[in-house]
């Protein structure tokens, strides 16, 4: 057993940390406040290779492992969760579906450009009437003259509406199976396809600098060849995609929680009340000790899930546990952080206020905490 990161993983962590400290964190408040997508930061991340981190070298990526990817998302999110989710969604939800299920031609066409960060890609699963129950998709696609004609709406789609958004892969009902259940397939829809409109921009409480849009498909048309992999495999495909995505959202939560802890320690040492730094009070120390303990546990489970994936082993349970635990730990950590900062914690000039707003989505996006518990219970055979 070995709990040390490899030399490479350490270098990747140090690079992500250095970049987060010097390029991301100092500007996070600005982007959050103005709800501005950090194009410049994303471009720099692309230059450094962060948008293709776990993509094999033959498809233009850095060819790093999942542990490195988790460590990188953690560190970037420590600087700003909005940047973390931009990278995580682009990689796990945007790029991975091509690598996992695309035909060789589809991989060649899309992946190198995605890995280079020339464009972002998103994954459209959630709909107004299909959230946790993502299989209940109402979006329909019919073949007509060699083209898929798509009708429906997708909600809350990350990375779909930026200037560099190349397109979205969506789940849609493409027919009815023999057993009467809907046949679900994934379709590749490039930005600008006829009938595809990036509509409403959301006003979010957290992850405000990340891009989230509603998507409308009105007789939208894409070529028949834009089916991702095999027809009717959409349900199985998106479950697999989400399993991998959970590792990165867990990592994001760990990073955010660590940021909350770091700020808390600094502040508790500085703030003097009753003649001593509040860090001298046991009530504050206990909160900080709890944060430290829980964050380290969440980190371990996240890395373990990533490691299992790298070993080619079943990681679904661990990814679910990591996402569940890290999400809830981070919410508690951000709560403690605000409490330790007192009134200043409520003020936006302290980053903990942003952490507190950002952190909750870790318990919601890519499967709510309740759904993680369901996943874990199912894997236990319940």
């Amino acid at each position: 057993m070995d709990f040390d990161l490899t030399d490479e993983q350490v270098m990747i962590r140090n690079l992500a940390r250095e970049f987060a400290d010097s390029e991301i964190a100092p500007r996070a408040e600005h982007f959050d406040k103005h709800k501005e997508f950090p194009y410049e930061i994303v471009a720099k991340l692309a230059d450094l290779g962060f948008l293709g981190l776990p993509v094999p070298e033959e498809y233009g990526g850095a060819g790093a492992d999942t542990v490195s990817y988790a460590v990188a998302v953690e560190e970037l999110s420590r600087g700003d969760a909005s940047v973390g989710i931009t990278v995580a969604a682009h990689t796990s939800l945007g790029t991975m579906p091509f690598l996992l299920f695309g035909t060789e031609a589809q991989k060649q066409e899309y992946v190198p450009r995605l890995a280079a960060g020339e464009m972002l890609w998103s994954f459209g699963l959630t709909e107004p009437q299909a959230g946790s129950d993502a299989g209940a998709t109402q979006t329909r696609a019919k073949l007509d003259g060699g083209e898929w004609v798509i009708n429906g709406t997708k909600s809350f789609i990350t990375n779909s509406g930026t200037r560099i958004s190349g397109g979205v892969t969506i789940t849609a009902m493409t027919g009815t199976r023999e057993d009467g259940k809907p046949e679900i397939s994934n379709l590749i829809v490039p930005t600008g396809a006829r009938g595809y409109i990036v509509s409403r921009d959301y006003d979010k409480m957290g992850w405000r600098a990340s891009d989230t849009h509603e998507l409308a498909f009105t007789d939208a048309r894409v070529p028949e060849g834009n089916l991702l992999g095999t027809r009717g495999e959409g349900f199985h495909q998106f479950l697999t995609i989400l399993d991998g995505g959970r590792i990165s959202v867990a990592a994001l939560s760990v990073g955010l929680a660590q940021a909350a802890l770091d700020s808390s320690i600094t502040y508790a040492k500085e703030r003097v009340q009753f003649g001593k730094p509040i860090a001298a009070f046991e009530a504050i120390q206990f909160k900080i000790a709890d944060m430290q303990t829980e964050i380290e546990l969440a980190r371990l489970m996240t890395y373990k899930a990533a490691w299992l994936k790298d070993q080619g082993r079943d990681f679904r349970m661990e990814a679910g546990m990591a996402k569940l635990f890290a999400g809830e730990v981070a919410t508690r950590a951000a709560g403690h952080a605000v409490q330790i900062h007192g009134g200043y914690g409520v003020m936006e000039e302290f980053p903990v206020a942003r952490y507190w707003r950002d952190v909750k989505i870790g318990e919601i996006g890519e499967g709510t905490s309740e759904i993680q518990r369901l996943v874990i219970a199912r894997l236990l055979g319940l």
């Binding site: 030399d7 490479e8 690079l15 250095e18 290779g49 500085e270």
Partner: protein, 260 residues
Amino acid sequence: MNVVVCVKQVPDTTARKEFLPDNRINRAAVENVINPFDEYAIEEALRLKESQGGSVTILTMGPPSAEDSIRKALAMGADSGVLVTDPALEGSDAWSTALVLSRALARLDYDLVMTGMESTDARTGLVPAALAEQLKLASLTYASRVEIADGKVRVNRQIPGGYQEVEAVYPAVVSVVKGVNEPRYPSLKGIMAAKRKEIQKLGFSDLDLPADSAGKTGEKAKAVEVTPRPEKPAGEVIRPDSPEAAAGAIADFLQAHKFI
């Protein structure tokens, strides 16, 4: 243009330093990084390689863990590395460091040797000039700009109040100042490629040096005592409600302490 960059691994500048009984920094107790000044030298060498062709080799004397610093430089884009490591070299002073580096350089093919202007731990700033002396090469120190033309290297050499323009036929030794460029981050592809690049290891016996020429026994300058800087008293933290109030408070403070 083949450039060898001499890179030292130093304790993280922000880390609290502990000292060993013989007055040297306890490197095992802190996070170690590339000497920040050397990052400028690496960047400058990479730029020369990009504009002139050739290669960049990283030369480091240090403990086995200094390999991490070489790897980082390789991840930034350097081509290969040489690590001179031997317990016999521990405690080498500036002169013997230069001697050891010069012997390692004798095994390498180079047009230019680049270094940072000083290291952030010992801060003697002597190694670049001592190295040039050992190699019998021109020494162009404190360069804030480096240019190659007509078989010569030309630098702007920073001096108080301005700079000199100096040039020399290369091979030569050039030390660069902070701010000569903006060192790049290693890229992820660079990090992944770094493990496939070669790091050659040399020991004391490879250097062909008399036993008492380096390490503790070769010491010409001895650190007889170290005194940590006295702790700064805790600063006063003010949390005014508005930028105006903040400006006022700062002005009052500066006036009270006769800074303005």
